[in-house]
Amino acid sequence: MHGILKTLSNPAGLRACGLAVLVSIAAVFAPPPASALVEIDITQGNIEPLPIALPAFSAEGGDGKLASEMTGVIASDLKRSGLFNPLDPASFIQKNMSVNSTPRFGDWRQISAQALVTGTVTKQPDGRLRAEFRLWDVFAQEQMLGQQFYTTPENWRRLAHIIADAIYERLTGEKGYFDTRIVFVDETGTKDKRVKRLAIMDQDGANVRYLTRGDDLVLTPRFSPTSQEITYMSYGGADPSVYLLNIETGQREIVGNFPGMTFAPRFSPDGQNVVMSLQQGGNANIFKMDLRSRRTTRLTNTAAIDTSPSFSPDSRQIVFESDRGGTQQLYVMNANGGEARRISFGPGRYSTPVWSPRGDLIAFTKQHQGRFMIGVMKPDGKGERILTEGYHNEGPAWSPNGRVLVFFRDTPGATGGPQVWTVDLTGYNEQRVDTPAFASDPSWSPLIN
């Protein structure tokens, strides 16, 4: 997957000072600064997505279909983020755009575009694909960004995601998340005889690949933040246990040698430890295993169900769920164990906590009065917000930039089943990720470099 060369091409060396980007934790009713021509505030409810024009990239006599499909992937990424409104190409006044000429900005202002992307995709004599694009501020009449890339033709979708990430990053000030993948559990068969397979796909649902065959029940895959590995639970051995799987080599190994079932694994931020639950009789406690030294450390010791541990991004704390107080609630403890303090106090039960890679929030599943919700709260438990609610929403996982959650939504009855959805932190932008069959337990990869 590597091998996309990137060179900056901003010949004029222009600074895009005209297009101010607001990325701040502004108060809800704060008026926008007068100087801002275009603003994308991704922390607030997204009332007006930014109108952006993406005329099909030119192919310079090459593969026009490919150029057009690449433009489509970029537009789709931006649209699904909820922050952009790619305009209908039928409304475009200026046709046959070239990446090398300055746009007729008046034509784009007339259709209310605030940003414009021009680009070209050509085949090099050596067979490689060359893509170049420029991002323009229509009102300031300036180039904001210009980049070119070389890659092998089969990488064209990745290239489109990388360009979408560059546009997203330039306009929001946040890292993009389009050049990423999601590992999940593919579910086929009837509800009482489900076959579950580990699978991986691009974040937009493309390029699905299966990682296990379905012989063994597999659950809760989680991406390593640092390597092409996932950790997951499998029923393939004597006891159901936590495993590691290298998604490039297919190499698989059990994590640790525990006297009983292990489950609910997750990597530490440096990828060197796995935290998980060990079941002993009726109790589940949390353990940590150092993948290099193979040393295991007990982190909790209660006659309760302690599970779903998740590290803070600075590796100093772990959030987990426990029913030690009677019902499932969220607790935070030191990464080496010890005293835990409860952080969830609302009505209902709280589970599957996941610490944001930004550190600012903890996402969770909440059950109350027969409803299943996905929500976020600050690490001290304050500021709880429910982002989506319904019959059954479960198991949030963060996008690598900490702005979007992926989770699964189940539907009731014999023919019901789970599907993968995303919701952004505003709660306004819910999107289903198209999968070949039912799908559950999604987990986002880190940014691919």
Partner: protein, 161 residues
Amino acid sequence: MFNRDTAGRGARWIAVCFALLFVAACAQNKPDGLSSNVKPGTGQDFVVNVGDRVFFEEDQSVLNAKGQSTLAGQAKWLNRYSQYTITVEGHADERGTRQYNIALGARRAAAARDYLVSQGVSASRIKTISYGKERPVAVCNDSSCWSQNRRAVTVLNNATN
């Protein structure tokens, strides 16, 4: 990529499941005289005449009186037919989160196991496993199904019918 071939074991499980379903169907169709068709000491005898499962309230792992009575019957039978080892499978309904339900199923299996041990079944004959909410037997969308799924099932490991 695939280090393990479990197809044989899977097929065996499916065979056991079908056998149990068949037995259950017979039990419903011919409630009388069934026991006379069943050979004592067989897996069929255990399922039909003793009962292989006990049920739990929502989010509970406490055995009710009926469950205790079923398990007492299981213990009596297992003490008589000591050639069997067993696996107690704990299960949860779908109205919970996955990881918690795995632990809850384990708690239910442990409760059933402990009761069998208290009735004289050697702990060395008993293995437990939890399937959480992964293996429902009833799939409708109401409490009548969910209550059937909140269960601990005693499976004879080396049963013959």
